[in-house]
Assembly symmetry: C2
Homo-oligomer: 429 residues x 2
């Protein structure tokens, strides 16, 4: 296949006519497909239906230590749920607090509390002139929305297949006291599916921040979300690594069962040092009497233990793997060697990251939309929704059926071609 | 029965010897009873066990509008849950947002948001020199803990059987721009079981606050929590009343099913004007992807509609009524006419409020504790835990068995007598 970048004006124009005709065919199909969000598909949701049965039939809702899960009480989670999620998050059971249904909400609360009450005795951020966060890009839009909502200035840090550019992270964090945090999705990152290398994690743990209240916001959303049994990314456990490095309080770790059981009806947790948890508990005890213990018990009774979660995740993988592979196959077949796009090939998580020629992402997403396929908005993977190169697009293969996904990806590839041709042609004018 | 206040020193001393002997008998019993918190008892929790069955057996978890409750999405609650709670809260369905498991958490979030982002465009409270709240006293300790946590100055407003002292509320609110809110439990109040009179609610709706961001925090926790079918308090609906009075945005209304289904595993809601909800949604959309829709569906499938809730609350009442009556009977029999205490006689809610002679409450609670009966800490019903007269004690009859409750209340009455005698004797010295 000849590279588009090596084609003459005439070749490109001829190709455009041909592709435009194809595009019109797609438009005529009246498609309504969505590859925008990392939503599990119906078959994945069906995997957890047994969860609705485990507490039925008048069964005893008492946990091992005698607590009646139906009544008030227990601020940090029932012991068996703490064990389950501690095993999943690879931390000691004492380092965990079980929250409600949403890890995003825990992250929001963490920032909100830092704004009004500081971090372990530091000045509340709302009293400071300037608060900044480092944002590895492209990244997760909902992280960036939280920091934006609180008026925190966001600084882009480029991502590499090994994780964020650590030279830049180390330099900025050590020089600027107003930098209070960094957003990380360290395993099967959103949107690339990259996992931080051992060295990257070790460099994180050894950061020497100018701000005492600097924290790493370690959103380990995809910790058990492998696509393959034999090819799995491994991530160095950050809490232990920070402790070894003499920075035990430097990290907040977040996770949930949203993409294990039911999104929106799972359980979420925070893991951190005892000092941080003590600080957080001062808030938590004012904020609520306790989270949903019945749902905690439901998860424990259904999954039993971490092995149960791992076995369950195999079933998710069996559904997701063909979808990821279909997208990657089509991208390779349609776009491979054309020099108009690059994409990641994740071994887990929920996304594929696509980079088009500069200045084409918005146009590609708009073209897809006009033909009935919704992609994540171009720019969404950057703070303030501003992708400086206008090149990154997040692909979420999980939700559509395999047949729909194939159609949508073929259309996507077509739109990439059309946008690229226009871009290349306009450069020749 | 002769009033203690009319007894001679010798009579009091003789009585004290007699009562001290009785107290020692209680101490010998090695009691472990708890009348501290408004926790439902096991029999009440058993009422809702059917809730664990309604979604079992692979039943369809789709709601009326086609939303799959198992997946992400829906920020403000599924329509059928909104209808159920709107009916319970006596507001239009458009004026409600369904949250997670805790109305206390909604209140916390409401204050937290006002601190960082203000109210409908007002200056964030964290930027102001001084923020104050009015606190009808005695009141609910967890309300006061929230405002205390955010450094908000609390001003005591005396409660009457008609509600807060409205002369004082009107005056303070209209004069002082730093007063941003008032905590209210308007129906079967915590701890008195008072319900605000029609006139009180009307005066609330007609307040003319100096602060544009003043809001009434209307915690209607006990809206359907009657003890009797024939004797029920009625409360004028505040949202509609504020609208009629030209103050549509002045109130946030909170409720939950915590004491209807399962405490900690219920669903909570906020009701307010569309303007307020729009303001709040700006936060909510950043804070979470959505609350637990499966649990919302569970509640709807179990209760079906407001009539289902009312029927269910009859069963709660059948369990609670004998307990309240037992406590009131013992108080009347043991303390009636002695001039050493007054108490409320609620027709609903979870508490009885007891007022001892000034300066006796802490001593009474300590005496109870030494004999194995835990009461709500004296002072807890006041901001900062400071009851200026040291006289108020909250009695929570729900949790202990009837037999235990009788023992605990008899001991309580005995401790009231002993403390009062000591108080009266020390005044004679």
């Amino acid at each position: 296949m000849k590279k588009y970048t090596e084609m003459t004006k005439e070749e490109l124009e001829a190709l455009r006519s041909e592709l435009n005709a194809k595009y019109k065919e797609y438009q005529a199909k009246d498609l309504k497909l969505n590859m925008a969000r990392g939503k599990p598909c119906v078959e994945q949701l069906d995997l957890s239906m047994g969860m609705m049965d485990v507490l039925a039939g008048g069964c005893d809702l008492t946990c091992d230590d005698g607590t009646d899960c139906r009544n008030y009480g227990v601020l940090d989670g029932i012991p068996e749920a703490k064990e389950l999620l501690a095993d999943m998050m690879e931390v000691p059971v004492d380092n965990i607090i079980i929250y409600g249904n949403s890890s995003l909400n825990i992250m929001y609360d963490t920032i909100a509390r830092s704004m009004t009450h500081g971090v372990m005795g530091s000045t509340p951020w709302s009293k400071l002139d300037k608060v900044k966060f480092l944002c590895p890009v492209p990244g997760y839009d909902r992280h960036f929305k939280i920091t934006e909502y609180f008026g925190i200035e966001m600084i882009n840090v480029p991502m590499t297949p090994e994780g964020p550019d650590m030279d830049m992270v180390e330099k900025l964090v050590s020089e600027d006291e107003s930098i209070k945090g960094i957003w990380c999705v360290p395993k099967y990152s959103n949107p690339q599916g990259y996992s931080y290398s051992d060295l990257t994690v070790r460099r994180f743990a050894r950061l020497e921040p100018a701000a005492k209240d600097f924290r790493i916001y370690w959103d380990n959303a995809y910790t058990v979300h492998h696509l393959y049994d034999d090819k799995q990314d491994n991530l160095v456990e950050i809490l232990a690594e920070c402790k070894r490095a003499g920075n035990p309080d430097m990290v907040y770790k977040f996770a949930s069962t949203s993409k294990i059981s039911f999104p929106g009806s799972g359980i979420a947790a925070l893991a951190s040092s005892l000092n941080n948890l003590e600080d957080i508990t001062k808030q938590l005890t004012v904020q609520t009497i306790g989270h949903d213990k019945v749902n905690q018990l439901r998860h424990v009774r259904y999954f039993r233990d971490i092995h149960g979660i791992i076995e369950h995740m195999r079933k998710h993988a069996d559904i997701l793997r063909p979808k990821f592979e279909a997208v990657l196959d089509i991208l390779e077949k349609e776009l491979g060697g054309l020099g108009i796009g690059e994409w990641t090939k994740p071994k887990g998580g929920y996304f594929i990251s696509f980079d088009s020629l500069d200045g084409c992402a918005k146009d590609i997403v708009a073209r897809c939309k006009k033909a009935g396929v919704i992609m994540t908005g171009a720019g969404a993977t950057y703070p303030y929704g501003k992708d400086p190169k206008d090149s990154n697009i997040r692909i979420a293969p999980s939700y559509p059926s395999l047949a729909d996904l194939i159609t949508a990806t073929e259309l996507f590839a077509l739109c990439v071609k059309l946008s690229s041709i226009n871009k290349l042609l306009s450069a020749k004018e």
